[in-house]
Amino acid sequence: MITFSLAFLVPADPVRMIAGRNATPTVVENIRAQLGLDRPLPIQYAGYLARLAQGDLGRSYMQRTEVSTLIASRLPATLMLMAGTIFFELLIGLTAGILAATRRGGFSDRAVMLASFVGVSAPHFLVGLLLLYVFAYLLGLFPLGGYAHGSLKHLVLPALTLGIAGGGWYSRVMRSSMVDVLRQDYIRTARAKGLKERKVVLVHALRNAILPIVAMVGLDIGIFMSGAVVVESVYGWPGIGQLAWQAIQVIDIPIIMGVTLTAAVAIVLGNLLADLATPFIDPRVRL
């Protein structure tokens, strides 16, 4: 509803974008009537909902293709990038977070906190181009962007670019959560039993400390489903972000609505997944 109204509040006219620069006012009004955009907004919205209930997201104004087809064509790349990113986020975030928490106040701790700060703050565009230039152009280890029907080689750099930023957040959350858990009585008990420190941290403490991270992964699933515009464009990755960004430029309302809807569903699903996963990690939590 909000997206729908917002799309119409933009001080620009989608019909004029379709009609082009040679259109006379009559042509513009004819096209407006063809699209039903001359009817009052509530009626347009009701019409949209009615079609949506039948699974019809409409056709793009500019491309004239079914929005569902367009979104479906972008889904594999988006899902793949999401999986790759979450993998790197966890890899970087957990390793760095645990390292920092167990050596609290030490050099590693400070180094990790500084690195995570840089990772979080560095613009994706810059990190992306830098990784691309060094690892793809100079060293030739990875291809210079592209998707190539889901080859892992093409996935590494874009996923790493996003993973560095996400990993920075994860490591900070992981560190503070781990620090809290390590203060708990049961950890002291475990240590008193004579368990090795490695086992105490990785088995006993991690299970509890990781819960906030699981919730974050759930959120990320939703966020990445609406696309990662910058990284997608640097690497030529055909994800949903590119589709949405181009649609916004030309006020292609059906696509904007479709992508927003997909993202909303994904956020709900992501949170649900995180909630469902929690009891497996910490059996004390019941649904």
Partner: protein
Amino acid sequence: MTRTRSMLLAAAAALIAMASPGSASAAEAMVVTYKDDVSTLDPAIGYDWQNWSMIKSLFDGLMDYKPGTGDLVPDLAESYEISPDGTQYTFKIHPGVKFHNGREVTAEDVKYSIERVVNPKTQSPGAGFFGSIKGWDEVSGGKSETLSGITVVDPHTIKFDLSRPDATFLHVMAINFSFPVPKEEVDKLGADFGKSPVGNGAFKLKEWTLGQRVVLERNADYWKKDSPKLDQIEFQIGQEPSVALLRLQRGEVDILGDGIPPARFLEAKNDPKNKGLIVEGGQLHTGYVTMNVKTAPFDNVKVRQAVNMAINKDRIVKIINNRAVPANQPLPPSMPGYDKNYKGYAYDPEGAKKLLAEAGHPNGFETELYANNTDPNPRIAQAIQQDLAAIGIKANLKTLAQSAVIQAGGDGSAPMIWSGGMAWIADFPDPSNFYGPILGCGGAVQGGWNWSWYCNEELDKMAAAADAMTDPAKKAEREEAWRTIFIRIMDDAPWAPVFNEQRFTMHSPRIKGADALFVDPVHIPVHYDEVTIAE
């Protein structure tokens, strides 16, 4: 044992395939990159940077241009005749030209395709180009489906009756919107025709992976035996221009569809390795500042002339790394009708201040300058802002999304607009296209593109008279008439012309062809049918 070995072999093969995507066909396929999606390849609808030239290679219209020039030549038409009064055009269609589905192209197809464009149900951005054909108002208003001005004389002869003599009509017959489409395929595919186009051109569609790539392959049945020169063209979509440049340097890409990225321009241009790979040419483009003549203080011609004298065009051209030449009149230098001898308003801030004082603004005034928010337009707008400040005009910048600026220009709410990134590139190489929509009374309407709202009835009459000179023998006279019109406009100064963009096309060493093919005024970025790949 054998099984393990064949599995290993298969894995190795897969790895090699992964390592060098597309290398199997690299020998004969030209690779072109674009940042944005190809929206459609339906000639009735496609009107963007990416698809414009692709459609020209998939379809042939009655007229075309000699490769590398703006000179009209018959294409699908074998010959044509213009009645002495210039209101009747008759075309003989080349017999035996076939659509990609094997059926012959006839006069019926040409009629159907133009009527389809004008029909509001098609929602075509090109409907307005056919306004001079009789019956246009009825079809465009939805009252009729057939244009009374088009007659199919026989399968290979088509006659157009116009409501007014129109010297630009041959150009209109060369524009994408006039290209014939087969009715049976449009009926079958409906709105999806644009994703599976069936044309009659040098290339046909081989593959389209949404958001990733479009592959065109040679039309083996093409009626021009020496065309096209390439077997395949692969368009890779979603490619960031600066990454595409790196890929070109590594030999993975042949043509940068979006050009050399501005940030890398000087570096690429000065690199000795790129010698001979970057071709420079003119473009049918002018960038200008519009001043809304309907609102104060720009209703005073002296104020508008002062703005013309205040802007330091040489500095602005430097800001964009000399990718343009300074302009002093609406027409670009490569357009017929351009006046070489016209000097325009020279840069003169002191004189500008004097004019402002005479106009009753000795201390300047405050106004708004709208601009598109994509680079380099905000930087150019800032330079103009500084120049205006120097003569006392305080212009507040409004850098907005393209669609919002177009809206503000079309509804008359913007006092000044920097046109960069939006206007104007001519649809065809004729001066008429630089007048009607952007400087004539017809464009000074709600939603129009005449953002100055300049409307000079006398010049409109002169323009109509110039466009009535349809006799090819009067070409020079017609050019002269247009030249006069545009210089008269500059006396009223509704615009401050700033520069004409130059084109710089970069290609890989293996792509060959005359320089003119790489800066073709009509086929942009390159003439896909004519360039070749060296072995």
